[in-house]
Amino acid sequence: MKEQILKEISPNDLLTEIMKIKNDGYRMVAITCTNKNGMELTYSFDKDYELLNIRLTTDTETELPSISILYPYSFLYENEIKELFGVKITGIMPDFNDNLYKIPVKTPFGVNE
């Protein structure tokens, strides 16, 4: 299997980095959120089977811009992360306002047991 690259960035550099990646012809694969020592978001991209992961750490209070202006289909991942983890992602197009999943508990993945 091809190499997996991991690059850590600051939340402020998110849109700039994603724009470079889009211009390089990468396909977005997934956005993963892990609730451990803050909210760790990993944006995964693919080009010719090489996986490029861009990682940033944030929290549930700081606003994070949506990348749906660059990758329109990221709206599903961002809506899911917002609803399940409580990360404040702004500008998602379209934003389901926490109505994507039918869950009775608010931000269930945002709570560590």
């Binding site: 299997m1 997934a30 990993t42 995964s44 996986l51 289909y73 869950i103």
Partner: protein, 359 residues
């Protein structure tokens, strides 16, 4: 501007194997927009990683979905094996590949049947599922289960397949191939099938790439992308190429899946011909520490498994990005400007697996 109405589609609908809701905004009989609502079968399986240790989670992973069950188990096991640097014996890899391709075969047969049912071709639906029963019988004889197999384990597989059984699988598949040719020729050549699928839901190559489509949905638009070409498991030792079609419509997707069924039979034959003897698993000791992304080619497309471990028996995170989740935006795009009568066909064309999508 014609009359605008909103018609709810689902969560219960005769054509839907699993619940999903779409609000279809219609202008007369044309769909202008489709707004999805999912979550009817969200089970919080990723959250369960906090309660089940990394070995128990294998049973949870394969219960994400009944159709893609084996490959979910395989993907999860592979991610742990990569983190722990565990090398699965070669025979174990070949057995995994055989079961994976059998899963692909039965999944595509299931889909073909549902497609036939969607446009009212009941006899073709029955014939497709009759063929599928033969694959399920093979699963039952080799694993003990028809839907959930529980044969994939960290370090290899739990059960072996004897040489006699492998020969029997080859014989059954050879017989099935003849019937499959007859059944699939109806999908390819029948006038009514062509009328309902040709030119319907066209997704160009650029659109498919821009919308992140994967699997047969992408390959039917001319994108040559298949994770099996990366050589995981025993695929590196097999001779095959991704199957593509430039049509981009429902008919093209049907043709791609039909060809993939024959390709799966061929891959299983290749595995049976060259499978080595030896061990089928290795003992795994200790606990994983690290993280890994694993990508497999499920019947519906690329699945991504992300696993993060912290050195204890409980994992920090398991994340599954399933192919249906990736294909939903492409579905919503193809629904725009389609006729209301074509909606069931278009939804089925992505081969939706909502259990996988919602987890």
């Amino acid at each position: 501007m014609g009359n605008r109405t909103i018609v709810p589609f689902g969560p219960q609908h005769p054509v839907l194997p699993e619940p999903i809701h779409l609000d279809l905004v219609l202008e007369d009989e044309t769909v202008v927009e489709a707004i999805p609502r999912i979550g009817y079968i969200h089970r919080g399986l990723e959250k369960l990683v906090e309660k089940r240790d990394y070995q128990q989670y294998c049973y949870v992973a394969e219960r994400i979905c009944g159709i893609c069950s084996f490959m979910h188990g395989m993907g999860y096991c592979m991610s742990i094996e990569r983190i722990m640097d565990v090398e699965v014996p070669e025979r174990g890899e070949f057995l995994r590949t055989i079961w994976a391709e059998l899963s692909r075969l039965h999944s595509h047969l299931l889909w073909l049947g549902l497609l036939a049912d969607a446009f009212g071709f009941e006899s073709l639906f029955m014939q497709s599922w009759k063929l599928r029963e033969q694959v399920l019988d093979i699963f039952e004889e080799t694993t003990g289960g028809r839907v959930i197999f529980s044969v994939c384990d960290i370090g290899g597989v739990r059960k072996d397949i004897s040489s006699e059984m492998l020969m029997k699988i080859k014989t059954v598949l050879t017989e099935m191939e003849k019937e499959l040719k007859e059944t699939t020729s109806v999908f390819i050549n029948d006038t009514t099938v062509k009328l309902r699928t040709k030119g319907v839901g066209v997704l160009t190559k650029q659109m498919a790439f821009d919308l992140g489509a994967v699997g047969p949905m992408a390959r039917a638009s001319g994108i040559e992308m298949d994770m099996r070409t990366q050589g995981y498991s025993a695929y590196g030792k097999l001779d095959f190429k991704p199957i593509t079609n430039d049509g981009g419509d429902c008919y093209a997707r049907t043709r791609v899946r039909i060809k993939e069924m024959f390709q799966s039979i061929n891959l299983i034959r290749q595995c049976i011909d060259i499978i080595p003897g030896g061990e089928i698993n290795v003992k795994v000791k200790g606990t994983p520490n690290g993280e890994q992304f694993i990508r497999l080619e499920q019947p519906r497309g690329e699945v991504v498994y992300y696993t993060k471990a912290n050195g204890t028996k409980f994992l920090d995170r398991v994340r599954v990005r399933t192919p249906t989740f990736a294909n939903l935006p492409a579905l919503l795009e193809t629904l725009k400007n389609c006729s209301l009568a074509d909606v069931p066909i278009l939804i089925l064309t992505i081969d939706p697996c909502i259990s996988c999508t919602e987890r």
